[in-house]
C-alpha cells in the first residue's frame, strides 16, 4: 500500500512539475504569437506585414496543392491556416468581423460572397480585374459572378468543377448498357437496371442533405430553364407553383430508383455502392473522385443529365471556388498580391494538377492538354453549355439551402405529401427572404 501511494504521489508531483514548466512555456508562447499577430501587423509593419490565408481546403490533396502554390509566392510571408469546411462555414462570419481577421480566405463565388460584400466585410479587388490584372482575362460569366450589385469585384475565382451523372465504365460494359441520350431513355435504363437487381441511382442525403438539391436543380434547369431557376432562388417565384410542381412530379419518378439506404449516408459513403457495382449511377460534382479508391478512378466516366425540353437554353451546374479578402485586413496590398498569385495561370495549373479532384482552371491561359480525359470531357461539357449555374446554396444562400434540405429530404420519404411540402417550403423561403 505504501509503495503504491508513493508512486502515485510521485506521479502527481511529476505531472505538477510538467504543468509548471508547461505553464511558463505556454505563457511565453501565447504572448509572443499574440504580439506578432495583433500589434505588429497593424501600425508599424504597414503593407509588408505577414499574411494569413484561411483555407477550407482540408482534404489532403487540395490542401497539399494549395501549399505548393503558396510556397512559390514571393510576396509577404504567408501562413496557411486550414479549417475543415463545415467548421469554416460556421465560423466565417466571425473571421470576417473580428478585429484582426485572416487576410485572404477561400470561399464561393456568387450570392454568398455578395452577401458578405453588402455588409462591407470584403475587400474591393476591382483592380485585379482591370488592365493587366490577374483576372482581367477571365470570362464574362466569371466576372459577373465576382461582381457585387454596385459594380465592384470582390472575388477572385481560381477553379471550378462540373456536375454530371457519374458511373463505372466497366460496369456499363458488363451490363451491356450505354449512357442514355434522352430523359425517357434514362428512365427506361433505370427501370431495366432495377429489374436486374441493381440500384440505378445512389445518393447520400444523410449527413449531407444538400445532395438532394442536385436533382432538384437539374430537373428545374431542364424543365423550367436557367432563367426561371435563378429567379426562383432569388425569391421572384414561389416554390408552391405549377412550375416547381412539375419538377417534383419528375423527381417523384426517380425516387423508386434511388438507393433507400442513401438516406443515412453522407455523399462520401454513397460512393461505396457505386464502386462495388451495387449501384449504377451517381449525380454528383466532379470533386467526388477524391473519394473513389485509387484503382477505380480511371474507370469512372460521366454523362450530361439528359435534356428534357430542348427549347430551353442548355444549363449546367459549375460551382466556382476562389478567394476573397477581409476588408479589415492590415495589409490590403499584400492580400491583393497574394490573390494575384493564386489566380495566375501557373498557380492554377499547379493547383489543378495536384488537387486530385477533377477541378477546372478559370484562367484561359492554362494549358489543359495534359489533363486527364475525364477532365477534358468536363471542359467540353461546360463549353457546350449555354449557361452555367452554381448550386442551390451558392445561387441563393445557406439559409435557403436549409429550407430545401428540409423539404426535399421529406419529399424523398413522403412523395405523396408534395402539396403540403411545397406549401411549407414556400413559407420557410419567404421567411428567409424577409429576414
Amino acid at each position: 500500500m505504501s509503495t503504491t501511494d508513493l508512486s502515485r504521489r510521485r506521479f502527481l508531483a511529476g505531472s505538477a512539475a510538467i504543468g509548471l514548466s508547461g505553464a511558463l512555456g505556454g505563457c511565453v508562447g501565447s504572448g509572443g504569437s499574440n504580439d506578432g499577430g495583433g500589434g505588429g501587423g497593424g501600425e508599424s509593419a504597414g503593407s509588408s506585414g505577414p499574411l494569413t490565408l484561411q483555407s477550407s481546403a482540408a482534404d489532403p490533396q487540395p490542401k497539399a496543392a494549395l501549399k505548393a502554390v503558396v510556397d512559390t509566392f514571393d510576396g509577404p510571408e504567408t501562413t496557411i491556416n486550414t479549417v475543415a469546411v463545415e467548421n469554416f462555414r460556421a465560423q466565417l462570419p466571425t473571421y470576417l468581423t473580428s478585429e484582426n481577421p485572416p487576410d485572404v480566405l477561400t470561399w464561393y463565388a456568387g450570392s454568398v460572397a455578395r452577401d458578405y460584400a453588402s455588409e462591407g466585410l470584403l475587400l474591393d479587388v476591382s483592380e485585379l480585374w482591370e488592365g493587366d490584372g490577374a483576372c482581367a482575362g477571365f470570362s464574362d460569366a466569371l466576372r459577373e459572378l465576382s461582381t457585387t450589385e454596385d459594380g465592384t469585384q470582390i472575388f477572385v475565382p481560381t477553379h471550378y468543377y462540373w456536375w454530371g451523372v457519374f458511373h463505372r465504365r466497366s460496369a456499363f460494359d458488363q451490363w451491356g448498357i450505354q449512357a442514355p441520350e434522352t430523359w425517357d431513355d434514362f428512365l427506361a435504363l433505370c427501370e431495366t437496371l432495377l429489374g436486374q437487381g441493381i440500384t440505378p441511382l445512389t445518393m447520400g442525403t444523410g449527413s449531407t442533405p444538400w445532395m438532394s438539391s442536385g436533382w432538384f436543380d437539374y430537373l428545374n434547369l431542364r424543365i423550367n430553364g436557367p432563367e426561371f431557376h435563378l429567379a426562383l432562388l432569388s425569391g421572384e417565384h414561389s416554390f408552391d407553383s405549377a412550375e416547381v410542381r412539375a419538377v417534383m412530379d419528375e423527381y417523384a419518378k426517380l425516387i423508386p430508383f434511388i438507393d433507400p439506404n442513401g438516406r443515412s449516408y453522407s455523399w462520401q459513403e454513397a460512393v461505396t455502392p457505386l464502386v462495388q457495382n451495387k449501384a449504377a449511377m451517381y449525380l454528383v460534382g466532379a470533386f467526388f473522385t477524391e473519394s473513389v479508391p485509387s484503382d477505380v478512378v480511371d474507370d469512372i466516366d460521366f454523362f450530361r443529365v439528359p435534356i428534357i425540353d430542348d427549347s430551353l437554353p442548355l444549363a449546367e451546374e459549375a460551382p466556382t471556388d476562389g478567394y476573397f479578402a477581409a476588408s479589415r485586413t492590415d495589409n490590403p496590398a499584400g492580400a491583393k498580391e497574394l490573390m494575384s498569385h493564386l489566380a495566375a495561370p501557373e498557380s492554377q495549373e499547379v493547383y489543378v494538377a495536384k488537387a486530385g479532384g477533377a477541378f477546372l482552371p478559370t484562367s484561359t491561359d492554362v494549358d489543359t492538354s495534359g489533363f486527364s480525359p475525364m477532365i477534358q470531357k468536363g471542359i467540353t461539357l461546360l463549353e457546350e453549355s449555354d449557361q452555367l449555374t452554381q448550386f442551390f446554396n451558392r445561387d441563393s444562400s445557406d439559409e435557403l439551402q436549409t429550407t430545401a434540405d428540409t423539404a426535399l429530404t421529406r419529399f424523398l420519404d413522403q412523395p405523396d405529401q408534395v402539396d403540403d411540402i411545397l406549401a411549407q417550403w414556400q413559407q420557410a423561403a419567404e421567411q428567409v427572404f424577409q429576414g
Partner: protein, 291 residues
C-alpha cells in the same frame, strides 16, 4: 470524521470486494451480451483504424477487416498533426487543472474558514454561473477575448477553462473544507500558524482526496472540451485535440481509417488518466454524497 471515511478511496474499493464473488448464471447470461454491446463501438473503431482506405472504400465500412495497415495512424499524425494537437491539449489541460484547483482551493478556504461578508451569496453566485448553458455565452466570450487581444491564443483558452471551472470546484471544496473539525485548525492557531500556513500545511493535505477526485474529473472535462476551443481559437497550429479531430474528420471525410486512428490516438491520454486515477473517479462521484 465521517467525510474522511466516506471519500477514502481504499474504503470504497474494499466494500466493493466484499460483495458475492460468484454470481448466478442468469447475471452472466444477461451481462455478457450487454458488455459486448457496450464494447462493440470501440472494437469497431479499432478495427476501422487498422484497415486500409482502399479496403474500406471497396468493401464498405461494416465489412470484416481484410487488410492491416498503419496508414491511418501515420496520416493522422502527419497530415492531421494529431501529435501537435495532443501537446496543445496537454498544455491547456495541465495548466488549466492546476490553476483551477489552486484558485478554487484558495477561494473555498477563505469562504469556509474566514468571516467574509456575504460569503454564501458569493458562493451561490459562483455556482449559478456554472448553471448557465455555455452556448449562450459563446458570443460574449468570443468578443471579450477579442477586445482583450488574447483571442486565438492558448492563454485565452486556459483563462476560459479556469473561469468556467472555478465555480463548481470552489463549491465542492467549500463543502469539504467545512467538514474539517475546527479543533484541528484551532490547534494550529494556538501553535502560532497564520492563514497561509494553515492553508498550506493543514487544509490542503486534508483535502487531498477531494482535490485528487476533482483533478481527475477536471482533466477529462478540459481535455474533452470542444466548444470553448472552437470559440476562442482559429489557428490550426493552436488547436487542441478535440478541434483537431473535428478538422481531421472534415478533411478526411471518407477516409474512415484516418478518422478512426485519430480518435484512437485522442482517446489514449484520457484512458491513461482514467486508469491512473480510477479510484478517484469513483470517489469523485461520491464527493458531497454524504453531507
Amino acid at each position: 470524521m465521517t467525510t474522511e471515511t466516506a471519500v477514502d478511496p481504499g474504503t470504497v474499493r474494499r466494500s466493493a470486494n466484499v460483495g458475492p464473488r460468484r454470481r448466478g448464471w442468469i447475471f452472466h447470461a444477461c451481462m455478457a451480451p450487454l458488455t459486448l454491446l457496450w464494447v462493440a463501438p470501440m472494437v469497431f473503431v479499432l478495427a476501422v483504424a487498422f484497415r486500409s482506405f482502399d479496403d474500406i472504400a471497396a468493401r464498405g465500412l461494416g465489412a470484416l477487416p481484410a487488410s492491416f495497415s498503419l496508414d491511418g495512424f501515420s496520416t493522422a499524425l502527419s497530415e492531421g498533426a494529431i501529435g501537435r494537437a495532443l501537446a496543445n491539449s496537454a498544455v491547456v489541460t495541465v495548466i488549466g487543472v492546476v490553476a483551477t484547483l489552486f484558485l478554487a482551493s484558495l477561494a473555498a478556504f477563505a469562504l469556509s474558514r474566514h468571516a467574509i461578508p456575504f460569503s454564501r451569496t458569493i458562493l451561490l453566485t459562483m455556482l449559478a454561473g456554472n448553471l448557465l448553458p455555455p452556448q449562450i455565452l459563446l458570443i460574449p466570450v468570443s468578443s471579450i477575448t477579442q477586445s482583450l487581444g488574447i483571442y486565438d491564443s492558448l492563454f485565452a483558452l486556459i483563462v476560459v477553462q479556469v473561469g468556467f471551472g472555478l465555480g463548481f470546484y470552489t463549491f465542492v471544496l467549500h463543502g469539504f473544507m467545512r467538514s474539517i473539525p475546527n479543533e484541528v485548525l484551532e490547534a494550529a492557531v494556538v501553535d502560532g500558524a497564520g492563514s497561509a500556513r494553515i492553508y498550506a500545511r493543514i487544509v490542503l493535505p486534508l483535502c487531498r482526496p477531494a482535490l485528487a477526485a476533482l483533478a481527475a474529473l477536471a482533466t477529462t472535462w478540459i481535455f474533452n472540451d470542444l466548444i470553448w476551443a472552437l470559440t476562442v481559437l482559429r489557428t490550426e497550429t493552436k488547436f487542441p485535440i478535440t478541434v483537431a479531430l473535428l478538422n481531421l474528420q472534415g478533411g478526411f471525410v471518407s477516409n474512415w481509417n484516418v478518422v478512426a486512428s485519430g480518435a484512437v490516438l485522442a482517446a489514449i491520454p484520457t484512458a491513461v488518466v482514467f486508469f491512473a486515477f480510477q479510484k478517484h473517479f469513483v470517489s469523485g462521484l461520491l464527493v458531497g454524497a454524504n453531507k
